[in-house]
Amino acid sequence: MTAVDPETRIPDPLDLERLEEDRLRVAAGLAPARQRIGEYAGFEQVGLPDRPPQTEREEQLFTLEEGEMLVNMGPQHPSTHGVMRLLVKVRSEVVTDLDVVLGYLHRGIEKLCENATYTTVLTYVDPMDYMSAMHNEHAPALAFEKLYGIEAPMRAQYIRALVVELNRVFSHGLMMGFLALDMGGLTPILYGFINRDEIVDMLSAISGQRMLFNFFRVGGVNFDVNDEFISRLGSWRSRALATVEDNERILTQNEIFTARTKGLGVLSAKDAISLGVSGPNLRASGVALDIRKAHPYPPYEQLEFDVITQESGDTYARYLQRVAEIKQSIHLIDQIVDRMPHGPVQAQVPGIIRPRPGRAYAAVESPRGLYSVYAISDGGPNPYRFRMRDPSFITLQVMPKLMPGHLIADTMAIMASLDPIMGGVDK
């Protein structure tokens, strides 16, 4: 493997073998290794697109040295977690550069939401980040309530927190499974899906839908908790911690797993902040930023929990962070159930909501990080501007930083540890 500078994570220019190669080439009267695009370099350039580069960065990406070639991974690659294309520059088995090509799932949800009423917007955002649909509805609901000048009843806030934490548990559980799956381990994903199906059935009992819940309303939630939800929640909760520990036991101490993840794809805290990484990925790098603590939205200021962080910022730390957050979410669910007040679950709002002209920003902590909504009202029945900041979209920027110097098989492990969901990335 090429030596990698831990600061910049680019192949070390002082790599002796590479310098020796260049020296031999010059001594033999051959062209130097680095050539501009389109110039004859004495070797076949593989994988270059048939159009000129558009930007400085693209030009850098399309400039191949000898032995390098461009390979497309995706858009239908089993490990890309949806339809995403990775344009990978490889030297034999080692990745030297990488570009993320997006847009295969772009539906223009922001534009659609600007042409929908405030209530309808809450249905449009569901299929965005389909692994955390409850979180997708939470931020717009909070933003619209702020615009409209209303607050949901406390019981509704607790029910929101309950379903949101349940959603976080299954999302993180699946991430553990996908991480192992991308490295060749099939078992954890099956356990992850067992757990996920239990929770999804539970959420289906309360909201009526399995995946795209349409459960939140401006000023509350659609339904109160019902008997089926309670019985499913009770039976799941009695086994929840044991299930997590079962799943964890397959991986945490697994020698192959630790050997392949420890020290892989180290993201420093400084880089993570600069690149806008948020959520578990940021906390795994040691930055204690959790929106539930930083800008608490009800009822989180009444719940007791700490911001969990890891130190190393590698793939293994990102995995451990998810495991710790699952356990934390289960404790939060206990607290929510214990403290849930009586009362209505829906504030009185008219059928068509027309907030006063104004602007509102609301952010929630989704399983993938800071998910925020910036909504502008002009007094009409639909938002003038509806902006969503999806965490996995921003997180994908770290990939060209983390991947160079790693083997192709390891890039998939790094990507799974970042846990991007393409529905949210492409909006």
Partner: protein, 233 residues
């Protein structure tokens, strides 16, 4: 589990109405921002948990650097950067949301951008993570960030010829209200040929089509304001 049982009759006063002009819980932040930014603050407005500052677009890098590097302000995290289109003939706006652990409020920085000449300095030198934000703003709104070394389309294909989140980009659903209903050439804007647009929309009659589709075509060609149909509908 006791409290999870179904609630009884709904209480009379559903939901708590919150005051529309709640005092910001960051009065200290307002004073600090006014002190540190001085002349750069063109306007200031507060929400219950947001402090909003309006600045000159050309000075965004200097202002954001001061907000990030000042010890007492400490807005180290760029939470969001988004573009807003206030309609043809008005302006664009680029809105930055910043987070600081020293202040219990979001800081929103609004930078005005001319709609005729949408240029703004890039802030990728401050936060590398602004790259995808700026690429998205360029792709969706057509705002050009000077100095950005990777400003290309991120969602749409490289040969796409429109900026879909501008207000004068009309959705096919809106076009269906027009005399051209059923044709829907707007579903493939990259194939638009604006000179032949009216002919294909009203075949046989020879007369140019009327309504929002034709208006959209004209506006995209000449930068006019006809396509903004006014709201609310």
């Amino acid at each position: 589990m006791a409290h999870l049982c179904r609630s009884g009759t709904a209480a009379a006063g559903l939901g708590r109405r919150r005051p529309l002009t709640a005092p910001a819980k960051a009065g200290a932040l307002v004073r600090l921002v006014l002190d540190r930014l001085g002349e750069d603050v063109r306007d200031l407005w507060t929400d219950e948990d947001t402090v909003e500052v309006q600045i000159d677009g050309a000075r965004n890098v200097e202002v954001l650097r001061r907000l990030r590097d000042d010890q007492e302000l400490g807005f180290f995290f760029l939470a969001d950067a988004a573009a807003v289109d206030y309609g043809p003939g008005v302006r664009f706006e680029v809105v930055y949301h910043l987070y600081s652990e020293k202040h219990p409020a979001w800081l929103r920085v609004r930078a005005h951008v001319s709609r005729e000449d949408p240029h703004l300095p890039t802030i990728t030198g401050l936060w590398e993570g602004a790259m995808f934000h700026e690429r998205e703003m360029y792709d969706m709104m057509g705002i050009v960030f000077d100095g950005n070394r990777d400003l290309r389309r991120i969602y749409m294909s490289p040969n796409y010829r429109s900026f879909p989140q501008r207000r004068d980009f009309v959705l096919p659903d809106d076009a269906a209200d027009s005399s051209a209903a059923g044709v829907n050439p707007l579903e493939r804007p990259e194939t638009w040929d604006l000179r032949r647009f009216s002919e294909t929309l009203a075949p046989g009659t020879g007369a140019p089509a009327e309504g929002p589709v034709a208006a959209a075509g004209l506006a995209l060609e000449a930068g006019q304001t006809a396509a903004d149909k006014g709201r609310p509908r």
